[in-house]
Every structure is written in structure tokens, then in C-alpha cells.
Symmetry: C2
Subunit: 292 residues, 2 copies
DNA sequence: CGTCCTATTGACAATCCTCAAGGTGCGTGG
DNA sequence: CCACGCACCTTGAGGATTGTCAATAGGACG
């Protein structure tokens, strides 16, 4: 069982929806994954604890349009996406839905519920999906706990950095960035980086980027007209990744602080107070804290 | 020692910069805080472990304009703001600075370094400050570790939610939201909610909100002209908090998904698969995981 | 085959960025 | 103490971007 269909998936064609890959063992009429399976899916090395308790985590199939979880439900499990494509959204203070992310294979769902004990976002399947259920009771003090916490912290950091970066860009740059990220994420799963299918609506993209669907549509049309990409409905083909990459951070949008100089009496603070070769301490704390 | 100067501070006038409140014990020529001090500052109950090891955490003074940490420095400590006002910023892919947050009393600095083992943001003091140094070696497996992790997860969740919410608003709403949050944060520390001093420049505000400094300036002027606030340099007085609060989410900016209906075959999934009174499990996992 | 959702495109208006020109406050050095 | 420089703030005018409203067309699905 060791590594799951990871290397297998790495050869797939891009347009075949990654529906229900059939790894995991069949037992009691359902599919289950081992600790090793989940770790591989999360791309985090398996802890070497010899307590070979062989924990098994049940799979759950989600049909397109169905919800993995709803806002307000009490937090009792985390989920790891085994395959398929989803959308995470929350309600802002007005009651409108705002799209937070588009999770896919290897992403963790439900981490927003840890803190409040209640999910603050909902996750809906944009294609038929399969997720692995990690119940709290299973995670608590298990070998998986640190692994999952590591994955969560990685995701939150990346997503937040991405959200911040988006704030200062204008529509074309946002769009280019979104497409590049989609491309990279597809590539990371072994699909084509040049050709992929957007599973979400223009409106979803707009909500995620802070644009209207018309602006998204126009932006995509403009990129296509410029020959940077080719569009057929939701099928995207990247023709010039150079140009697309360059578009991510075009002009200024003078929204940033520019100076980058003058540090009033910065003397030797940074080197004076905490020198002491610390990488090891950092690593140690990391072990215990948010990483694995 | 118990609760620090918390209740004392709660009576201060708003314009007096909260510089170097003098709690903490003096030892070896420096100020130190106990576990109880730090927990109170973080507004998190102190763990009841009877290992009364009496850990002491050293204070560090930061003069206005000095840096608490720089981008790229290796991660070896977290900091809790004892008093003063600061600014956190990172460099985007272009090399421009982007302001992430304006930390104040009780906030944690440096959590962005946990994951990479290296700080990805820098923190500069906007006023004379005092921070409490939590070295990794002290935190590791200590009673404080869970407390700090809880505080960090709380901060990250709030900051991310705030960042996401900002994305869809237009300038006036962003500005109103910013002012309301500043007001609330000041109030939470015992200062006046109606009258406070902005320690950051218009440019910093703009960078934080994704606007230019001119737009910020115009927005503030407009609010003042409307009688909602009164402005004198960086001194802000809120005259009509009703109006200001209402401005936070004005028109639509049709950026959100609106439908809010039609769940294709949602049948009984959410209630069918994971009912089981889970709050207790959630609480347990919470204990072990990110909370205290 | 009709309906609904989605996407595209156009025209127009509002917002916001850009460039530019003062003005104010503060620290530094003469 | 005053002059000067420098950052910060304000305000204006013009233009680019983007939101809004509206009309149309294609596709999915029952």
C-alpha cells in the first residue's frame, strides 16, 4: 500500500477529471486509507513512530454540487481531498458568499473549524470528489496529528500570503496570477500545466479575486485576444506562459510603500541581541509546534 | 504579580502613548515577565500545570523606528507586545513593501517564522515599544507553548478573515472598517474608542488596505466633511459611530456570489454522516492541537 | 423544447489611480 | 534661534480601470 496512486496519477491526461481514483483498501463496504496514504497525499514524510497501530481513515464520496460541510456545523472532523475539485466559501457580514479557495487533491478541508469548534466556511464539490475523513477522535494524540497540523499551517500561510498579494493588483494581474496558480497546482498533481479545465464559474473566480464576473470575462477574453491563452468555455490552454507570468505583477498601483531605506538608529540590534546559532532551536520548536 | 497592569491600563487617557508600562520584575538589570504575566497579556487563561518552574521571559525595549526583526533572519524567538504600537510588513514579488498589520499590546510577533524557520516579514516600531521575548528554547514543551499557539491561531484566523473581507470593499468602506477596527482595538486595551491617534502614515494605511495614500487622504477628508469623524493630523475623533459602522459594508460591488439557494441533491448528507454529538471531541482535539 | 444558468459584449457611470502643486510640521545644522 | 530640508498630508484635474446595467447567445438539464 505504501505510497498511493501518486506516481500513477503523475501520468494522466489533463482533461480526465480525477474522479474516484481507486486506491485505499476495501473493507466493510467502504474505502479506507492508512496513515501512510494520508501522509503521502499531504506530501509530508510519515512519522517514524513504531506504534504500528494501523489506523484506518474512511473515505467519503461527494457528488458534484453536494456539500462536504456547511457553515455552523460543529467541528468534528478534518478532511483530506483524495481527488476531485472543490470550492470553499464563507459569508461576509452582509450575507454574501465570498469564495476563499478552490481546494484539490492533497488539500485539507475544515481547518477553519478548529478554533471556534464550529465550521465558519462551507465546502462544495465542483466535480465528483472523494475525501478522507479524519475524525477528531482519531487525530487526538495520534501520529497523524502533527502531520495534519503541519499541512494546515502550510496551507494557511500560503493562502494568506496569496490573499495579501492579490489585494494590491489590478484585474489583469489578478487574473494572470490566478491562471498561473491553477496551472501550477495542476502540474503539481501530474496534470498538464498548459491545458486544464476551470471547474468554477466566472462569478466564483471574481468572488475569489475581488472582481465582478464581467471583469473576469473581459480579462479572459483580452488574454485570448492577445494570444497569451486560448479559451474554449472553461477549457484553458496557456500559449505563452512567459507573458502570463510577467502579467502577474505589471505596473505599480502605487499602493505599496516604496522608500526602502533609512533605519533610524538600527545600529546593531538585530545582530546584537539574538545572534547565537538558532536554526537548531527553531527546528526543535518547529517539531513540537506546528510542523512535523 | 498575578494579572499585570491590565486593569490599571484600563483607565488611561487615549493620547498618552502606552510607553513602557512598568510591570514585570527587575532582575539582573532587565525587566522580566512570568508565565502568568504573558498569559494575561495574551488574554488566555493560564494552564494549571503545577510545575511551578517560574519561567521568566526577558523584556526588550524598541525605540520608535527600530526593527524588532528583519526579513530573512533565522527564527529563534516569538515576541509578545507589552506596550507600544508597531507595523508588520513584507516584500511582495516586486520588492515593494506591503503592510500586513499594525500590532499592539497583546499581539504576537514573529509567528510567520515558525514554518520556514526564517522570518518572512519585518516588524518596525511606530512608537517606543516594549516586547517580551519568548525564545524557542524556552517555549519548547513548556506550559506556555500551547498558550502561544492558541494566541497565534486566533490572530491568524482573525487577520485572514479581515484581509478577505477587505478584498471586496471599495475605498470608503475599507477606510471605515479600518477606523472602526482601530477604535475597537484601542477600546479593548482600555483606551477611548472615540478618540485615538493613528501611529502610521497615510501611505501605510493605504498599503494595508490596498489603496493609494491619496485615496486614503481623500477618504478621511470626506468622512470629516460629512461630520462622521473629526481629524487633526493623525488624531482621530469619532463623532458618529453609527454612520461609520454602516459604511463598512455599503453598496454591493457585485463581487460576491449571490444566489444562496439550490443545493443539488444535498439530501441528508450533513446530518446523515457526521451527526453524533461531537462538541466534546472537538474540544479535546482543540486542547491538543491549536488551542489551550 | 423550454428554462435556467453561464458567458460574452457593449455602453455608460463611478471609482480610483496618476501626476502635480502646494502646505504643514519636525528635526538638523548653522 | 532660525533656516533649511525632508517627510507627510492635502487638494485638484485628468484619465485609466472597473463596476453597473442591459441585451444576446450558448449549453445543460429536465
Amino acid at each position: 500500500m505504501a505510497l498511493p496512486s501518486f506516481s500513477t496519477l503523475a501520468q494522466h491526461r489533463s482533461l480526465v477529471p480525477a474522479t474516484s481514483a481507486q486506491s485505499g483498501r476495501l473493507e466493510r463496504g467502504a474505502l479506507w486509507s492508512t496513515l501512510a496514504d494520508v501522509c503521502a497525499l499531504l506530501r509530508i514524510p510519515m512519522p517514524v513512530r513504531d506504534e504500528a497501530v494501523e489506523l484506518l481513515f474512511q473515505h467519503r464520496r461527494i457528488k458534484q454540487g453536494q456539500y462536504v460541510m456547511r457553515i455552523g456545523e460543529s467541528f468534528n472532523a478534518l478532511y483530506v481531498v483524495k481527488c476531485g475539485f472543490l470550492k470553499t466559501q464563507m459569508l461576509d457580514s452582509e450575507g454574501n458568499e465570498r469564495v476563499l479557495a478552490f481546494p484539490m487533491q492533497g488539500d485539507v478541508l475544515g481547518s477553519d473549524g478548529i478554533y471556534q469548534g464550529r465550521y465558519s466556511a462551507e465546502v462544495v464539490a465542483l466535480s465528483d470528489c472523494e475525501v478522507i475523513v479524519l475524525r477528531c477522535s482519531q487525530l487526538k494524540n495520534s501520529a497523524l496529528e502533527q502531520v495534519v497540523l503541519h499541512a494546515i499551517s502550510r496551507e494557511i500561510m500560503q493562502e494568506h500570503a496569496n490573499t495579501v498579494a492579490l489585494t494590491a493588483l489590478h484585474s489583469d494581474a489578478k487574473l494572470a496570477r490566478f491562471l498561473v496558480m491553477q496551472s501550477q497546482r495542476h502540474a503539481a498533481l501530474g496534470y498538464s500545466a498548459k491545458s486544464f479545465l476551470l471547474r468554477m464559474t466566472r462569478r466564483d473566480i471574481g468572488s475569489h479575486l475581488g472582481l465582478t464576473l464581467e471583469t473576469v470575462s473581459r480579462g479572459i477574453s483580452a488574454l485570448a485576444a492577445a494570444g497569451t491563452i486560448s479559451v474554449d468555455q472553461r477549457h484553458i490552454e496557456i500559449l505563452d506562459s512567459e507573458v502570463l507570468g510577467a502579467l502577474q505583477t505589471p505596473g505599480n498601483m502605487r499602493t505599496a510603500t516604496k522608500p526602502r531605506a533609512k533605519s533610524t538608529r538600527t545600529t546593531t540590534v538585530s545582530k546584537g541581541m539574538l545572534p547565537h546559532s538558532a536554526p537548531m532551536q527553531a527546528r526543535l520548536f518547529q517539531q513540537t509546534a506546528l510542523a512535523a
